[in-house]
């Protein structure tokens, strides 16, 4: 089976979260996060290593109720490969290779809502309310949000601020 004709989505090392008809994907190897719009998500999900590009387009049309052509699928595959979300590589037809979104929209008269989009998201830092310390650990005097709530950051003696409840 020719890999190029039967693309396969990569799953290893990925944390995937559906959100409506989109996906967010965190690549634990590259430490990158990506947002796939509805079209890109659908194409990616259909890349099972068994379907041809034409079959992917056919199913995606049915699922999305949108005019998803083979060119749209190839464009999606190019984006997915660019972000490391496919196993192996695909050889995208010359007509689609390397063109910008604007060029793609114009050249193939594709509706903006159909164009596959894969966007890199900001790399997540600590979640907003996360406390990363335990009671008794050193902390910063203004405290928040480093200590657990039951022992906020406080100076109880002269050795420095610690997560403690000596308020």
């Amino acid at each position: 089976m020719n890999k190029n004709d039967h693309p396969r989505a990569r799953k290893d090392g990925l944390i995937i979260q559906p959100m409506g008809n989109e996906l967010v994907v965190y690549d634990t190897n590259a430490k990158h996060a990506h947002n796939l719009n509805a079209t890109a998500s659908q194409v990616w999900k259909l890349c099972d290593g068994k379907r041809r590009v034409s079959e992917i387009a056919q199913v995606a049309r049915r699922e999305l109720h949108q005019p998803v052509s083979k060119q749209v699928v190839w464009y999606a595959l190019a984006r997915l490969e660019e972000y490391g979300l496919l196993e192996g590589s695909v050889t995208v037809p010359e007509a689609v290779a390397g063109i910008s979104r604007r060029e793609f929209l114009t050249k193939f008269a594709v509706a903006a809502t159909v164009v596959p989009v894969v966007k890199t998201m900001k790399i997540p830092g600590p979640a907003q309310e996360g406390s990363t310390l335990q009671c008794g650990d050193p902390c910063s005097p203004t405290g928040f949000p480093t200590c657990p709530e039951r022992c906020p950051c406080a100076f109880c003696d002269d050795t420095g601020p610690f997560c403690s409840d000596c308020l």
Binding site: M19, Q128, S131, T132, Q134, P148, A154
Partner: protein, 366 residues
């Protein structure tokens, strides 16, 4: 209406409702797969979006906006972006919950996941709820060992808040007589991505959510949405006796559920609290609305210690103000009922008591 509220420009605000009331309107039913249609003007949305984003309720508001005429407005786009980010955090948190509970299980320690991920799974999508610490309950006997293990857990995104379950009066558990084994017996096993995790049972979970809401002064709208989703997704055999029955603070729970009904229109028909929900004290709902106008976590952080402030006189005024608690927290701190009596005496009493405790501690040399 003042031109700036908590640093947020309110010019152009013409609603007769307060910020808190409009926030409530934007979140009603937001925990449901098909929430009711949203009636909000663009000016109102623009004004409340900083509050929604600051408090972590942005994704829930987006859930209601996504099928409305406002979905393509700049504030809605910002809320949509927040929803994407929280969806990512939700995925990461699930991965970390599995890793953490597996770590403890390997060491022979049973754990129960509470709040956070356990509640997020009740929503139509887990990214609707802001992600924070991973809260776990373990048995008192295993607590120290679990604590040592979690020190080495080192998640890049989430802290771990461990609680010793059973016979502990901290808000996080409020087992009120139940042992860890009781909580374990009532717990639910959740299977996700071929992993099994135990979460607090629905009756215990609802109780914890209500106490948590009051304990922190009800400042976060998403916490009331948590109560609403836990209430509406309770199983058919939900045992109200376990949530309310022997609990000395049963009325606090009833008032929390009542607030979810009054403010967010959570459904409470066929519950023992339906009558109480219609008889909340007059000061309670306005106080919650007022709390929702302070959306940032740092506005509710514990105050700096007195010893630290005594070395920094320029921070003294702030420290004095920071120790004045809201009427809700003052009520909880005094274990007082939610009734129609004024709250000022509880607030003053709390202030005096805090100071007296500090003086007593200094006198003991601690």
């Amino acid at each position: 209406m003042e031109s700036k509220l908590n640093g947020i420009d309110m010019a152009g605000w013409s609603s007769t409702q307060t910020i808190g009331e409009v926030i409530a309107r934007s979140l009603r039913g937001a925990w449901r797969a098909s929430p009711p249609p949203l009636e909000l003007t663009e000016v109102e949305l623009e004004s409340i979006s900083p509050f929604l984003l600051g408090s972590g309720a942005g994704p829930l508001a987006w859930w209601r906006l996504r099928n409305s005429p406002l979905k393509a407005t700049p504030p809605a786009i910002a809320l949509h972006d927040e929803y994407r980010e929280q969806s990512l955090y939700a995925a990461l948190r699930e991965s970390e919950v599995f890793r953490l509970t597996s770590l403890l299980e390997t060491a022979g320690i049973e754990s129960l996941v509470v709040k956070g991920w356990a509640i997020a799974r009740l929503y139509p999508e887990p990214g609707l709820r802001p992600s924070g610490d991973i809260d776990l309950i373990v048995s008192p006997a295993a607590f120290e060992r679990a604590r040592e293990l979690t020190k080495g857990f080192a998640s890049p995104w989430f802290g771990v808040d461990l609680h010793a379950g059973g016979n502990e009066s901290t808000h996080a558990v409020r087992a009120d007589g139940a042992t860890f084994d009781d909580l374990l017996e009532r717990s639910s096993r959740v299977t996700a991505s071929d992993r099994d995790v135990r979460v607090l049972g629905p009756e215990d979970s609802l109780r914890v959510l209500c106490f948590h809401f009051w304990r922190h002064g009800a400042w976060r709208p998403s916490w009331l949405c948590d109560i609403a989703v836990a209430l509406e997704s309770r199983p058919m055999d939900f045992n109200w006796d376990l949530t309310l029955g022997k609990n000395p603070a049963a009325d606090w729970i009833a008032c929390a559920l009542g607030a979810a009904h009054r403010i967010l229109h959570a459904r409470i028909e066929d519950t023992p609290v339906a009558v109480r929900a219609k008889n909340l004290p007059a000061w309670l709902v306005p106080t919650i609305y007022k709390q929702w106008a302070t959306p940032y976590p740092e506005q509710h952080a514990p105050p700096e210690s007195v010893r630290y402030v005594l070395r920094r006189p320029d921070r003294l005024g702030r420290a004095v103000r920071a120790r004045w608690v809201d009427p809700i927290r003052a009520t909880i701190e005094f274990d007082a009922p939610f009734n129609s009596l004024p709250r000022l005496p509880f607030q003053v009493g709390n202030y005096v008591r805090t100071g007296a405790r500090y003086v007593a501690r200094r006198a003991k040399g601690s």
